[in-house]
């Protein structure tokens, strides 16, 4: 765990202790899981265990919640998250092709992380950029009006940037 992670985790612990005595404290579970994911990018089991203890919520219940909501990652994710918008506007304008191209290029299925841990491929519902459909979002940057080639170019740009970073 990095130092920042530790600090954030400490803050999260404080938050959990603070909400635990409020009425309906168990209702804060989803908020807590959001915070955990913000820190680690996914929900590590030890942290869910800790949440169970502090908030006094059965671990099985937390697991049920964590697996129900697609927003939560149960495994570590890649350095970049590539989300393909599969909203209707994007779909009608060819999002499936973009998704297929990405699957092929990255060699993973939806939810999968590449072997080099660089990309995780996800499906998004509507990213709200219907005007420039079809779109993908890499981390929090949106790329629009895509076709197969443009999509692969974007991926290659990230690869290059990462390679440069590694060298430096």
């Amino acid at each position: 765990m990095t130092e920042t992670e530790q600090k954030k985790m400490e803050a999260l612990r404080e938050y959990m202790h603070a909400v635990k005595d409020q009425p309906h404290s168990e209702s804060n579970l989803i908020g807590v899981l959001h915070k955990v994911q913000q820190i680690y990018g996914y929900l590590p089991r030890e942290v869910m265990d800790e949440a169970a203890e502090i908030l006094e919520i059965p671990t099985a219940h937390i697991w049920g919640v964590a697996t129900f909501y697609h927003y939560f990652n149960l495994e570590p994710i890649g350095k970049h998250v590539v989300s393909v918008c599969m909203g209707t506007a994007c779909y009608v304008k060819g999002a499936q092709g973009v998704l297929d191209a990405l699957k092929k290029e990255l060699g993973v299925d939806i939810g999968g992380t590449t072997a080099d841990k660089l990309f995780t491929l996800q499906e998004a519902r509507c990213l709200g950029a219907c005007g420039i459909a079809p779109v993908i979002m890499v981390d929090d940057k949106i790329y629009g009006e895509l076709d197969t080639k443009k999509t692969i170019d974007i991926i290659n740009r990230y690869r290059k940037a990462d390679a440069a970073e590694t060298e430096a």
Partner: protein, 117 residues
Amino acid sequence: MVSPIDMIKKKRAEAVSRIVSKGYLSTKRVYVGMATCEIAAGSKEVMAVFKDAMAKGLTDVYLSQKGCAGRCNLEPTVEVVEEGKIPVKYGKVTPERAREIVDRHLKKGEVIREWTI
């Protein structure tokens, strides 16, 4: 006792005065669309151009953000409002276009017809 209505009226008057004090009465008011869709289309970069221009001495402009008016396919949008004149709405504004809007419209008063919606 002051009624809620009276309180809200006072708040409104104060709000208006704050808006005015921020230069609302400048000749030109520039509104940049800053909703998710606009930002996805690149409006943050556009906003930066206007901010930069003001930092570099562009005066008499009141810059504000606004939500989405619904013109998704023409985003990012920028509006230039001058009192008494027909407001001008630009669509598909890129940073380059924004710089030209600064130079031609805001500085020289020329409406760039081909980019208006």
